[in-house]
């Protein structure tokens, strides 16, 4: 934040003049990009649909209230499936992500080539949404919660793998050195010097991903991969908005509980 002389009055400016212009130009460019994007979107939008959007919204909400509680009982089993999809999927994902993270971390990888492969797996898994994995897996292993679990697992590998390998790269190197200096083997150093240091972060990451997976698992049914999403999809297709509302309420309650559980566990781990 320079002080600039103008005549003989000192003028305080936040930036140098040249930088200031560059700054404005940047904002201009950003603004133009946004307008251009908006133009493309508006081109592909049938604006006539929007004239009655408020009526549509009102009638939608009107039909959702009150929720159709009569189906609550029949939703319990799908809800249990949803929780299982999330939990088992998370565990499977972690089981693969854990060794992968050690291959991907700069300070524990046995070979740079292996590190590149591990990073490629992690980034592919992370870039692709669980729902897309589920669409694929349904065509491969058939519809049902097994496809859902695999989808959740595949998506979790990248998430858990990335955060864990970053945690491994951030450990203090001195205990690792100290144990290497005692003559301990590679795996012993991992077990005694690396693992204790990453353990709290690891537990936190796993629970965090489980919490996210509960939410994701609620939607997998839309593509046939099991859980409460199946019932939601059926209700939407039948335009039974009262039933849809019931599903929403149940999802909301489940998510609140899972968030509470994960906060508790993360707190206990610290």
């Amino acid at each position: 934040m320079p002080l600039i002389r103008q005549g003989d009055q000192p003028v305080w400016k936040k930036r140098e003049p040249l930088k200031q212009y560059a700054h404005w130009a940047g904002w201009m460019l950003g603004g133009m990009l946004f307008v251009w994007c908006w133009a493309i979107i508006s081109e592909n939008t049938i604006w006539e649909f929007l004239y009655d959007a408020d009526e549509q919204a009102a009638s939608l909400i009107g039909r959702m209230i009150p929720p159709d509680w009569s189906i609550t009982g029949s939703l319990m089993l799908p809800l249990w499936d949803t929780i299982n999809i999330a939990t088992v999927g998370t565990v499977m994902g972690i089981a693969i992500a854990f060794p992968l993270a050690f291959l991907a971390a700069r300070n524990t990888t046995p070979h740079p080539a292996l590190r590149a492969v591990a990073l490629a797996i992690i980034v592919s898994s992370r870039s692709i949404n669980a729902l897309i994995w589920a669409m694929l897996l349904v065509t491969i292993v058939g519809p049902g919660s097994f496809a859902g679990m695999l989808a959740i697992a595949l998506r979790s590998i990248g998430f858990v793998g990335k955060l864990v390998y970053e945690a491994i790269e951030e450990i203090h190197p001195t205990p690792v050195e100290a144990l290497s200096a005692t003559g301990a083997g590679r795996s012993q150093v991992l077990a005694y010097a690396v693992w204790p240091q990453i353990m709290p972060a690891f537990a936190g990451i796993c629970v965090y991903r489980w919490d996210i997976n509960i939410r994701e698992a609620t939607t997998l049914g839309l593509v046939g991969a099991g859980g409460i999403g199946l019932q939601m999809n059926a209700a939407i297709n039948n335009l039974a908005w009262g039933q849809v509302a019931t599903v929403f309420v149940l999802i909301f309650a489940t998510v609140v509980v899972s968030e509470w559980v994960s906060a508790k566990v993360r707190h206990a781990m610290l």
């Binding site: 001195t174 100290a178 290497s180 005692t182 003559g183 204790p196």
Partner: protein
């Protein structure tokens, strides 16, 4: 016992940290390595157990050339060399007992160490060492719950668990208060004499070194510039090692105050965690 011949180290960055060091440390000798910051003291120590790969020269431990071994052989060589660090290098989330026992890892297979199945002789030895360093009641405490002096005691116990022939000690007292520093130095030197261990101790505190060691070696810019008994350190030799400075307080007068300070600590009393109640 430890023989360095023509040892040099050039880091990848181009820094020449050690030039042609030749040095012999007989069994049971406690040697201090002094020199200004950046002289290459840590590099020398780390070349001995190959935490740093020497660029040229040999390191012989009981006649075996350590610079040539790899894999299991290297681990077997390392387990004969205990190391003590300035920042203790404990695994903070493991208990004191686990930290001490981790000195035995090189004697154990992976699964036994993973499942914490240490032989009872190791456990008894660990307890003896903890008693010796005055921490026997702390065995279940976690590393991060200890004070600096206590951590260093655990570090010492871990190094001795290896039943080493040689101790490498890198500035053991640099993070400690003066009284604890003294206690730690005395503990290390006493243990070395009891067990007939050779030791190489990096240390900045010349007075402290003079008081406890048998021999002093001075490094300057990677070269050996002094080698002799502590009594041979004069203003001139200190100037050779560290450069121009008024050394009179270090070589002359402090001898008395040192004696006084040393007398203040009962030499017969085993060192407990007195500095840190």
């Amino acid at each position: 016992m430890l023989t360095l011949t023509g040892l040099s180290k050039r880091y990848d960055t181009g820094d020449l940290a050690l030039t042609d060091i030749t040095l012999e440390v007989p069994a049971g000798q406690v040697m201090a390595l002094i020199g200004p910051s950046g002289a290459g003291k840590s590099t020398l120590i780390r070349c001995v157990n190959r935490l740093v790969e020497p660029s040229s020269g040999t390191v012989l431990l009981d006649g075996q050339d350590i610079t040539r071994v790899r894999g299991t052989k290297l681990r077997q060589a390392r387990r004969q060399i205990g190391m003590i660090f300035q920042n203790y290098a404990l695994v903070e989330r493991l208990s004191v007992m686990e930290n001490v026992l981790s000195g035995r890892l090189a004697y154990l297979g992976f699964w036994r160490s993973f499942l914490r199945q240490f032989p009872s002789s190791d456990i008894k030895q660990a307890l003896n060492l903890l008693e010796r360093v005055g921490l026997e009641t702390m065995f279940d405490k976690r590393g991060d719950a200890l004070s600096g002096g206590q951590k260093q005691r655990v570090g010492i116990a871990r190094a001795l668990m290896q039943n080493p022939k040689l101790l490498l000690v890198d500035e053991p007292t640099a993070s400690l208060d003066p009284k604890t520093s003294r206690q730690i130095m005395r503990l290390i030197c006493e243990l070395c004499r009891e067990q007939q261990l050779a030791a190489v101790i990096n240390i900045h505190d010349v007075v402290l070194a003079q008081q406890f060691v048998d021999r002093v070696v001075g490094l300057r810019a990677g070269k050996l510039v002094f080698d002799g008994p502590p009594s041979a350190l004069t203003e001139k030799t200190l100037t050779d090692i560290y450069g121009e400075e008024d050394w009179s307080t270090t070589t002359g007068e402090t001898d008395e105050s040192d004696e006084a300070a040393a007398a203040a600590i009962d030499p017969l009393k085993p060192i407990g965690q007195g500095g840190h109640p």
